[in-house]
Amino acid sequence: MNFRKYLVLAGVTVFAAAGDSMLSHGMKQIGSISLNHLQGVILAVLNPWVAIGILLLLAFFATYMTALSWADLTYVLPATSLGYVLLALVARFLLHEHVSPLRWLGIVLITGGVGFIAGGPELTTHPHVEPAETAHEPRVAAAPTPLLAKDARNGAPTAAGGVER
């Protein structure tokens, strides 16, 4: 994990939290959408807050895809859940929603969970399973170099018992 990868993970966190907040703000302006008037969901996009929220969520998606290209899903997802700490701060101080002490405790637990993940390896897919598995798949023939180089790199930390690089 280098600085650039941490920056990508930070982007995932911030864009997700900011996007959700913008969406929430916009949807509150629009009000409840009736199940009988489903076109209301489409029209919601015309609200500027919803539009900005969607742009931010697109940025989130780009960083999320980048992170998933070199890290486990079970590594990236908890890292993104740090966004709920951000989200609670935004909900409390910008949207003026009530955040109870129990919810704050929940946020602390989520943060603790993220702390557990952050110390471990970001990629754990078995080096012994992958070559056997990929040997039967045509995609290896299309791009042999990156996949093999990646496997070799990933093999090292797993063999060493997940020691910090």
Partner: protein, 140 residues
């Protein structure tokens, strides 16, 4: 006179809760399916940063958009997104967003182990439990 109005208000709150939680469950299911497909797609694409430096951004985008798992994953995410819009119009953002995405995280821990063969070790299960507890408190 006050009783009927009270009942109407109670049943309104109740139905709103049902709608919100149904939307949250829809988000969770669609997100787990989407996340697993997208994670698989991006592992097939390979390290985006390295690929970008070697072959350019066009190759990264082309290879990503041309991946069937990616397209299916995006469709699942679209379903999750519209469910999120519904949920947000019925409930508070500080309930809907953490509840949906953190329940998604738990579903993903199981799905990643089964479908992506990720090694979900004790460290990651502890993290899953902590986040699960956090979710329960956030929803309470």
């Amino acid at each position: 006179m006050g009783h009927p109005r009270l009942l109407v208000e109670l049943s309104d709150e109740f139905m709103k809760g049902i709608y919100t939680w149904s939307a949250i469950l829809a988000i969770v299911f669609a997100s787990v399916v989407g996340d697993v497909l997208l994670a698989r797609a991006m592992k097939q694409v390979g390290d985006v940063g390295a690929l970008w430096r070697r072959a350019g951004l066009g190759t990264v985008i082309g290879r990503t958009l041309g991946n069937p798992n990616f397209l299916l994953g995006v469709m699942a995410m679209a379903v999750a997104f519209f469910s999120l819009l519904f949920a947000l119009s019925w409930g508070d953002v500080s309930l809907v967003a953490p509840a949906a995405a953190s329940l998604t995280f738990i579903g993903n821990a199981v799905a990643a182990r089964i479908f992506l063969h990720e090694r979900v070790d004790r460290r990651r299960w502890i993290a899953a439990s902590l986040v699960a507890a956090g979710v329960a408190l956030l929803a309470g």
